[in-house]
Subunit: 146 residues, 2 copies
DNA sequence: ATTGACGTTTACGTTAACGTCAATTTACCT
DNA sequence: AGGTAAATTGACGTTAACGTAAACGTCAAT
């Protein structure tokens, strides 16, 4: 009689709203492969518990994964993301460390602000192109109505 | 007597505000390597004139390069950027082509909007971390004043 | 005539971020 | 108990976006 550990109900206390997740669960939920998740762990971005040999993920791991994927969408490298995660847990700091963090934070902020401008420009450009396309289409479809 | 062609003055008409640029000029201006510029050309993102064997860049090439680098900052692949450039010159369109473009444009817009949200979240998170760091620093520096 | 700064092509090397087996173990269902 | 689906580690493969080096041509200045 092996209790089902991975998704949901633990033997000790019965929580119907799942609290433990298998690697497959996470993969599906986030639309990535298990390989990717293991790779992130190998790079030090995740550190799930183990039940024997199997990985057991929980809410904190999900939150991290969210952070990671958000970082990726913004073009950060995994190393950079790892740094940011490290900063989250940074009450541990010595003074030097903290000053270093503040610098990095400022860098990241600058970069994000730059990106924000880039997005504005690009959205505007895309809208212009879109408009052009629609006009062309109007012309062409008019012609083809003869 | 060989006229200097690359940067600025052509023999025929004297324009004091440079109109032609060497690959080195561009590299320096944009802070990238010549290798990178040639690579972009090889991937079909640039198509400079030639004076003999040498590449001659002009304003339009600069504008393209700006577009390329902006795209890169947003995490677009070179292929995606090439597509966008193609869309710029898209009066050439057949109907199918135009519809395809409109779809792609919508994709890109969605993605940019997502990124915009991600930036908000990340900036907010970074500000919180920054605040935490500053507080820790205040504590530590107070302690070290004894 | 040589030197030095720049340009050219060709080609192989490198790194990040996974994909893709393969061989094996574990979990779950009947 | 036995079969199948899912998990594990390990290893090699792959792609994009350049880096780097070699081997050479061109031109201006010394």
């Amino acid at each position: 009689m092996h209790p089902k550990i991975a998704t949901g109900e633990r033997p000790e206390q019965d929580q119907s709203h799942s609290i433990n997740f298998s690697i497959g669960d996470l993969a599906q939920e986030f639309g990535i492969t298990t390989r990717t998740i293991r790779y992130y762990e190998q790079q030090g971005l995740l550190d799930p518990e183990r039940h024997g040999i199997q990985r057991l993920y929980q809410r904190r791991d999900k939150i991290r994964l969210k952070l990671i994927l958000r970082g990726k969408r913004l073009g950060f490298s995994l190393v950079e993301i790892a740094e940011m995660i490290a900063m989250y847990d940074a009450e541990s700091g010595e003074i030097g460390q903290l000053h270093y963090f503040l610098e990095r934070i400022d860098d990241r902020k600058q970069r994000l602000i730059q990106q924000s401008h880039d997005i504005e420009q690009t959205l505007a450009a895309l809208s212009r192109i879109e408009q052009g396309c629609r006009e062309q289409l109007a012309v062409l479809e008019q012609h083809s109505r003869d």
